[in-house]
Symmetry: C2
């Protein structure tokens, strides 16, 4: 980590290399693939593992071993660790630490959100250096307003970490909140707020990303979302088993496609438990995302 | 737990006494007070405790000892345990188990939300009998649509547990999502969906509650929210240190006041660490809520 130059006019966000800058470099060198680490009970069973903490651990570390050197990021799904209580969360700590050791960026898919000092506590949990759950970035949910996430936005800037804020998802029931408001829809407000927030970051990619479903179809146009202007990474879950293809991603995201981090979970994970199968499935997805 | 009568036409929700029914009985006999268990770093310090898992533990068990026999419910703030990673979550497991042993209802303030099988995993974590984190109820966040919470709504009905869905909060930035949509605002949609959901429950109080800030002021009228029609408990945080008074609650909630579970954290907690001080502060708040 570069030390701060005394007397320089660096802003806090520039104390270390930002998450956006690190993710941009990883996407450029490895390709825009994020592999979800989702130890669902059905996947554990198909891998011959028990639905307990040791099963979670073996599953997660196997996925990391297979993809840490080729994915731009990995995304452990926090709910699936939380299901096993503190024992599951201890496994998640080990997974996040292993990702760090193996030099692959981590996105803790936690979808946290609260206000004030409680939001600051969530920021502490996921974005503070000394936290046992420290990840490179965390997903957040903005029902309490984008600005309620301020403690996480600021701590991420300070510690060189990032956030991905839920904006527009492809589940049918999402529209009942995200599409509301006509020309000034909830999703458009979140997207505009992320764009404004990224003005604190230099370079091509800010550290405030959005979550936008890979299969949102025409909703981006219908709601007039300018994702290219967000200038932050777009986490797009839904590749593979959920129906999105790399070509579909390009069509959906248009000029924002360079910001898109395609996320695949089930299609890659169901190619396990052999390392070789997982790696081949990840490389196939990666080839598609790179247009090769 | 009563066994199901073979051949009876009982719905799953009726297998055991519902959360709404249990909470209604507790509110009637003890009064409508929920005590927040919020081990904020500043409170730990003022109690002379360290900001670590053992500090969390002593803080939380002291609050339980003081109020378990007089509050209708206690509400541990999950973020403050998560800050300490798996060690903090292990303390939360102990706190939830102790609440069960001391026969006070628990509301895990987790504000979780996701879709599909991931939402089912969160439901599993907080609302399944065998889960180490099982609580009587959990708070949920509906940015992905009220209906995305379906796995939790259904599991709660099955296990006699409850949920509180974020609807309308009093933080200023909340309006940028919750007030959007004019006459058919996001907050109004959430409230209407909770009302519809409670039709599956008999009795005075369904098991699908809402979170509505105690200091929302005129927003309930402005947005035309009919909370009395929700027929579920209204968790109203903000009593005391955050500025709401019992009289203010009555004025704000009007004919929905019988559904309101007033929630106080800091004002009561800062009267610790002595049991007597905590108890007196809780009883003072309770007297106000009962109009005595």
């Amino acid at each position: 980590m570069p030390e701060q130059v005394p007397g320089s006019r660096q802003e806090p966000a520039a104390r270390r290399e930002s998450f956006g800058s690190r993710l941009g470099a990883a996407m450029a060198s490895r390709g825009p693939l994020c592999v979800g680490i989702d130890p669902h009970p059905a996947l554990l069973a198909s891998w011959g593992l028990d639905d307990d903490a040791e099963g979670l651990r073996r599953f997660s570390l196997t996925v990391l071993e297979a993809v840490a050197s080729l994915a731009a990021a990995v995304k452990p799904q926090v709910a699936l660790y939380e299901r096993h209580g503190s024992a599951g969360m201890a496994v998640l700590e080990e997974v996040l630490a292993t990702a760090r050791d193996e030099a692959v960026l981590s996105i803790a898919d936690a979808k946290r959100g609260d206000i004030g000092s409680t939001m600051a506590a969530y920021a502490d949990a996921w974005l503070r250096d000394e936290s046992p759950l420290a990840a490179d970035s965390v997903t957040l949910s903005p029902y309490l307003g984008f600005e309620s996430l301020r403690p996480a936005l600021d701590l991420a800037a300070e510690t060189g970490r990032g956030v991905f804020v839920l904006a527009l998802t492809s589940n049918p029931e999402g529209a009942s909140v995200q599409h509301v408001g006509g020309k000034d829809s909830v999703a458009r407000r979140i997207s505009a707020a992320a764009a404004a927030e990224n003005s604190r970051y230099e370079g091509n990619l800010g550290s405030v990303g959005l979550v936008v479903g890979a299969t949102v179809g025409s909703a981006l146009k219908d709601l007039d979302l300018d994702l290219a202007a967000v200038r932050g990474p777009i986490l797009a879950p839904g590749l593979g088993a959920q129906g999105a293809t790399p070509a579909g991603l390009r069509a959906t995201f248009g000029d924002a496609y360079p910001l898109v981090l395609g996320t695949s979970s089930r299609e890659i994970l169901s190619a396990g438990p052999q390392i070789r199968g997982l790696r081949e499935a990840a490389l196939r997805t990666l080839d598609g995302l790179r247009g090769e």
